[in-house]
Subunit: 327 residues, 2 copies
Amino acid sequence: MKEKILMMLKQNKDEFLSGEKISHEFGVSRSAIWKYMNALKEEGYIIESIPRKGYRLISSPDILTYGEIEEYLITDFIGRNIYYFDSVSSTNIKAKEIAPKEQEGTIIIAEEQTKGKGRLGRNWTSPKGKGIWMSIILKPKVDPTKVAKITLIGAAAVNQGLKDIGINSYIKWPNDIVINGKKVCGILTEMSCELNMINYCIMGMGINVNLDKDDFDEELSKKATSLKTITGNTVDRKKLLAYILNHFEELYIPFKEKGDISKTIEISKDNSILIGKEVRIIRGELEKVGRVLDIDEEGQLIVEYENGKVEEIFSGEVSVRGIEGYI
Amino acid sequence: MKEKILMMLKQNKDEFLSGEKISHEFGVSRSAIWKYMNALKEEGYIIESIPRKGYRLISSPDILTYGEIEEYLITDFIGRNIYYFDSVSSTNIKAKEIAPKEQEGTIIIAEEQTKGKGRLGRNWTSPKGKGIWMSIILKPKVDPTKVAKITLIGAAAVNQGLKDIGINSYIKWPNDIVINGKKVCGILTEMSCELNMINYCIMGMGINVNLDKDDFDEELSKKATSLKTITGNTVDRKKLLAYILNHFEELYIPFKEKGDISKTIEISKDNSILIGKEVRIIRGELEKVGRVLDIDEEGQLIVEYENGKVEEIFSGEVSVRGIEGYI
């Protein structure tokens, strides 16, 4: 109900909405409306209220609630059920707790993660209100070995969402988004499965949106940056989040229904930072140097080694690093 | 401490142990000992206590606590930390709750499961005190694609544990144990993982030990039976459980350390009910008839179809059924 009233306020931004009109529209009492208005004010909404005229929305806070992103969302099921938190240990941990009983497309969003996690147990800096820290719950009826493809879909969706707000980025196969040679987004896909059935899959995304330079320590600032640092401007987190979810659903549906990731592969190739580059391929203690030739239709990285041997690399099996520096 | 006192009572079954001696051995007060004795009595231990002579263990209850299986256990880490419950929804569900923070080899055992689960969400009948309903928490540092091999290790361990108590059984690749054409044990392996790292793996085992005929409904009794029904005798659950854990650890260590499952494959082949048989291979809606030729060194089932084509089947990818009936 709170969200419905908020939506009505947003649709009537230039005029006063009388309590009577709201009461009539939703069939709730005037005193209930007054309580909802106070709840909205507590969340950071600035609402003017004048006796006998009614209520008017002056401004909305910079928060990633469903009420704030709904107007940009064109999805069917991705992001239509959002659990929003001010602070959590990690959105993936929270998502794993609720995933068994939630429907596909449910999202956990937090303004802050106190124990944000990257791949292989690494930390992920997630300061309050400055990033998009979220996890999407998915339940595709595919073999667990196919789940690596979902990471590619996620990376492609972030790349396309950034493009929608005018920011060009590169995809570092399989799970990072890179601008100016530094990481702006990482994806951590986890799953719970039986031998031939996925119970659920959690796609965690950390996007460094409005972090300032001093949010990164010295070591991290060599490898990571934020959209704000790159563009010099504060970026609209709400639009970016919604656009990413829109692209994600568009790319995910053909995968879920037919195993088709052709559009994702096209985006992955067009925006790849690895194709054509010399890279180090790291498998545990072993390291080999090769050149990335392509990404194939299954999403595998095709690498040619110095001895001319060509290998198809299955996502996740190895780490790929540039010859010099991070990329 | 309770377990240490129990162990001492067991080691001195034919004589009275004075409170003074126990007190001296463990450095606890006489009144504390009295409390531990009462706790043991509540668990079903029958303990004689005579003033000025002391305590004597008359009999132990039929429960699968650590105190009861310890004397048969020769493992290093499998089953050395046991969470024992009178009743749980499912040991796999319980195991998933605690797995993130538990060490490898920790086991959940319950006398009863109210929502015992088989593969693909099927039910598993688990009446109180009549079976071995347990889940082992494992954290092997191997690629998630290798986890199917752990199911084969589990099946081989059950087969060998049964042999130790004089019961011959067949392994129905990949996850069932069969006697007289009916199922006596099923294994449900689940895992939580990232792309190239297992967070944890849960191996759930349900063994129909002392179930009576009327524990199975009519439909189930066509497919499943119990060791008691087969042998005509009540089977010692404690020994069987410990022997299975002993074999499991012996077969699991080479896998964990070197990826070596050669001994498991040997057992799987020697005791296979499928090799040489005609089977139906079921993939979703599709069904094909073929003959099982072998199990290869990677644990894959080798099947030859009627048209002469030979296929290697990866565990879990398909269901295998006999031409007539269950097997």
